[in-house]
């Protein structure tokens, strides 16, 4: 066997592997162009990892490289954190400090929303997240018996729920009336 023939066979191995990766990408819903790009990225990754490689690596290695290439691609895609020019501010601008929380176009509105959510989250924490589902069901018309029948071990019984909320009334009203 000549050296040229050996190289040709080795190339064919890489090409076959690339075709397999492209087909895998297509099966997972990628466009042909994207599948080819990811396969190429995977191949480059394999070559970079093992510069001396002549024969095509095992398919498992190639799939792993493809997975990493896909992960890289989605990471790059989600890294579009360009802030619109109208929202860019200079660090030297003293107004920047108050401009930052301006998420709803109105800092006051954002403050109100946050205050409301802080309060409702505090209410949830006071009664306990484990009891919230039952309280919601009771408010929606479920009976104690139905609540107890559906209760998971980590959730309080209807009776325990009453005691818990009764004890928490001062804390609840105090927190809600600070809203």
């Amino acid at each position: 066997m000549t050296v040229a023939l050996r190289h040709e066979q080795a190339d064919e191995g890489w090409r076959a592997l690339t075709r397999q990766l492209v087909a895998t990408g297509r099966r997972h819903g990628a466009s042909l162009e994207d599948a080819e790009d990811r396969a190429q990225d995977a191949m480059l990754r394999l070559v970079r990892d093992d510069r001396a490689a002549v024969a095509a690596p095992p398919i498992q290695n190639a799939y792993r490289a493809l997975q990493l290439a896909n992960a890289d691609a989605s990471r790059k895609q989600s890294r579009k954190l360009e802030i619109p020019s109208r929202k860019q501010v200079s660090v030297d601008d003293p107004a920047a400090a108050v401009a930052i929380p301006d998420a709803h176009g109105d800092a006051e509105e954002t403050e109100r929303r946050l205050a409301f959510l802080e309060t409702t989250n505090a209410v949830k924490a006071i009664v306990g997240e484990d009891a919230l589902e039952q309280l919601i069901k009771l408010a929606a018309g479920w009976t104690d018996a139905e609540i107890d029948a559906e209760r998971r071990p980590e959730q309080p019984s209807a009776g325990a729920l009453r005691k818990r909320v009764f004890r928490a009334i001062p804390q609840l009203t105090d927190r809600l009336n600070r809203l």
Binding site: A103, H104, T110, V123, V127, A139
Partner: protein, 91 residues
């Protein structure tokens, strides 16, 4: 000109309408449950005041009591994963 990091990007889940409505519904459920308990008149009054304040704020976000109760029914239905009882709507 430099880019300033925003603590809350536009439409951030932390303060979007769905989160506010969820919060209002949860608070409403807690208050409604507490109001049925044998509390002192002062506690009953404080609960009523809390209910009014909560609703006042919720209304400013566009959620009246009817909307909150409707959402509660949906939440209850969504959470009823293991029950055989038919979900029922409030009013």
């Amino acid at each position: 000109m430099v880019v300033a990091p925003q603590t809350l990007p536009e439409g951030a889940p932390a303060t979007n309408d769905a989160a506010l409505l969820d919060g209002a519904a949860s608070a409403w459920a807690v208050i409604a449950f507490a109001a049925e308990l044998p509390a002192t008149p002062e506690q009953k009054e404080a609960l009523e005041q809390a209910r009014t304040r909560m609703l006042h704020h919720a209304e400013a976000f566009g959620f009246d009591e009817g909307r909150i109760r409707q959402h509660l029914a949906h939440l209850a239905e969504a959470r009823l994963t293991r029950s055989h009882a038919p979900p029922r709507l409030v009013e």
